[in-house]
């Protein structure tokens, strides 16, 4: 079962079982996005709060989905904190490329690197990108 273990690496299952930053945010400086995966109906809501310097101060997610989509969302919330809008979009580009099998992980020692196995499972790529597409919507890009 090596393929399967490559997809479901321990760190992914950990994020799935113990999701980070679940919840939502309110306030004027908060950007929201809500997205659905047409393949399966899985849903995600993302909320981003910026600080005065234009950096992401807090990120929360809510929704229902499979281990891949929920772990990807959980990792996203951790990876975005402290980033500017431009940095966030750059990370998004790198992650999307990795998920399509067209690039290396943004940083090999991040949890996100564990998602690189998804590229072998084209139908699951949609699960893994759901949170990242929501990010693009939230940032209006």
């Amino acid at each position: 079962m090596s393929d399967l273990e490559d997809l479901y690496r321990e760190v992914i299952l950990d994020h799935y079982r113990n999701p980070r930053n679940r919840g939502t945010l309110t306030g004027d400086a908060v950007l929201h996005a809500e997205l659905q995966n047409p393949t399966c109906g899985d849903e995600i809501e993302l909320a981003l709060a910026f600080d005065d310097q234009g950096r992401i101060a807090d990120v929360r997610f809510a929704g229902r989905g499979c281990s891949i989509s929920m772990a990807s969302a959980s990792m996203l919330t951790e990876a975005l904190r402290g980033k500017t809008r431009e940095d966030a979009l750059e990370l998004d580009r790198q992650v999307q490329a990795m998920l399509r099998g067209e690039g290396d992980p943004p940083s090999p020692d991040q949890d996100l690197a564990a998602l690189s196995g998804v590229a072998q499972f084209p139908v699951r790529v949609k699960c893994a990108t759901l949170a990242w597409h929501a990010l693009e919507h939230a940032l209006g890009s």
Binding site: Y8, N18, C40, G41, C66, S67, I68, R124
Partner: protein
């Protein structure tokens, strides 16, 4: 192909009612183990006789139909019209011309919605559906309702997943112009009492549209006995090719219906400003049809008849009963839909494991099931779930396939472990 025989004998056999050797893909290995294909409600596998029927047509008689005065054209036309006659006799159609060839059940349902609906619906009219319709029998009616001002109503379900027939009279009225509903639900497996609904609908002057995508492949279907006005199904779910399906209609309905698509074949006379239509069914078959597909569908029907639809229904119902029994032994599992009678499919959820993950896990052991909303989002919302897993059976499946599925389900919890929320 196995001769029609003693069904009892096959039920206990591990070889299936169809011979697995008839289906080349079933010899295939997936992740190093033999394929167990349990996604038949999405699409079925094809026997060699079907694959070969299409190939043989292309190798010997390929031509455009209906207009050519040459040998290939005559052979192609004869085979295409013979395929129509085969379809007609399979579903008890009084005449072949009542069978319109389309791409799939979805196109058939859209054709009725647009071509019959646009000219016969107006503001205040009602279209009665059920909450368990496949998107293909829901979205077209939403679109046509929006253009005509008609209103959609939905017959509710009882807690066991059967239709609330007792509520039918409160939903049916003189305003009801169309009653469109599935014969067999692709999620719950519910079998609806088509003849009774049609009788009660027609008493009030409504026309009836039956989505038979999940019934025609699995049980004897006779349009005359059902008494419906229209019936839709797809070849690819009944061991035939992709790209071909059928809209059956009562002759009067088809005659009073304007064509939706204009083009070659469907016309009688074309002027610059206007045209007159050819007769039924040709007025609905604009452009070059999928001749090879129709021939492949006829080969699938011949294959099915060689076994017998009664035998198929009997075999599948026993297999599904066995699957229900075994699945219910999985701790915490939730199984959807009525006990019996039901179509040959079971939707379920295993606690703590999302259907996507379940499906991925099973694939690794060669088992193909479906996970998701099954194109029935309103029904899933009604069931309060975002997705389910679904195993669906064909006569090449065996008890051993069910055992493989259930055994794997017993291991899936260990793999994903306990999930908090």
């Amino acid at each position: 192909m196995r001769p029609t025989g003693d069904v009892q004998e096959h039920q206990t056999a591990t070889t299936g009612l169809f011979l697995r050797d008839d289906f080349p893909i079933l010899q295939r290995m997936v992740h190093g183990v033999p394929l167990v294909y349990l996604d038949n409600a999405a699409t079925t596998q094809k026997p060699t006789v079907v694959i070969e029927a299409e190939a043989a047509y292309y190798r010997t008689s390929n031509a455009n139909v209906h207009r050519a005065i040459h040998t290939l054209g005559e052979e192609a036309t004869r085979q295409y019209e013979q395929a129509r006659a085969t379809v007609a006799s399979f579903i008890g159609s009084p005449a072949p011309e009542q069978c319109v060839f389309v791409r799939n059940a979805t196109e058939a349902l859209n054709l009725v919605a647009w071509a019959w609906g646009m000219d016969h619906l107006s503001s205040g009219d009602e279209i009665l559906l059920t909450v368990m319709e496949h998107h293909s029998n829901l979205v077209p009616w939403q679109m046509v309702a929006k253009r005509t001002g008609a209103r959609l109503r939905f017959l509710p379900l009882a807690p066991d997943g059967t239709l609330r027939l007792d509520a039918l009279d409160t939903f049916l009225s003189e305003r009801t112009k169309i009653v469109a509903f599935t014969h067999v639900s692709n999620v719950l497996g519910t079998i609806t009492p088509v003849a009774e609904i049609c009788r009660r609908a027609q008493r009030l002057g409504a026309i009836t549209v039956v989505d038979a995508a999940q019934s025609v492949p699995h049980q004897p279907v006779d349009v005359t006995a059902l008494g419906c006005d229209f019936l839709a199904f797809s070849a690819h779910k009944m061991y035939g090719p992709m790209g071909i399906g059928v809209l059956w209609g009562r002759l009067e309905r088809l005659q009073e219906m304007e064509p939706l698509f204009g083009g070659g074949e469907m016309i009688l006379r074309v002027g610059l400003e206007s045209s007159t239509w050819n007769e039924v069914p040709y007025k609905f078959e604009a452009g070059t049809p999928n001749v090879a597909g129709a021939i492949g569908l006829a080969a699938a029907i011949d294959y099915l008849r060689g076994i017998g639809m009664e035998a198929i229904a009997g075999y599948e119902s026993q297999l599904t009963e066995y699957a229900l029994l075994r699945l219910r032994s999985v701790p915490g599992i939730e199984v959807y839909g009525p006990e019996s009678p039901r179509g040959s499919l079971v939707a379920f959820n295993v606690p703590g494991v999302h259907p996507h993950d379940l499906s991925q896990f099973l694939d690794q052991q060669g088992i193909a099931i479906r996970a998701g909303h099954h194109c029935a989002q309103p029904l899933l919302k009604h069931l309060c779930v975002v997705a389910t897993a679904r195993a669906s059976f064909a006569p090449y499946n065996t008890r051993a396939d069910v055992d493989a599925l259930v055994d794997a389900l017993g291991r899936v919890g260990d793999f994903f472990g306990h999930v908090g929320s």
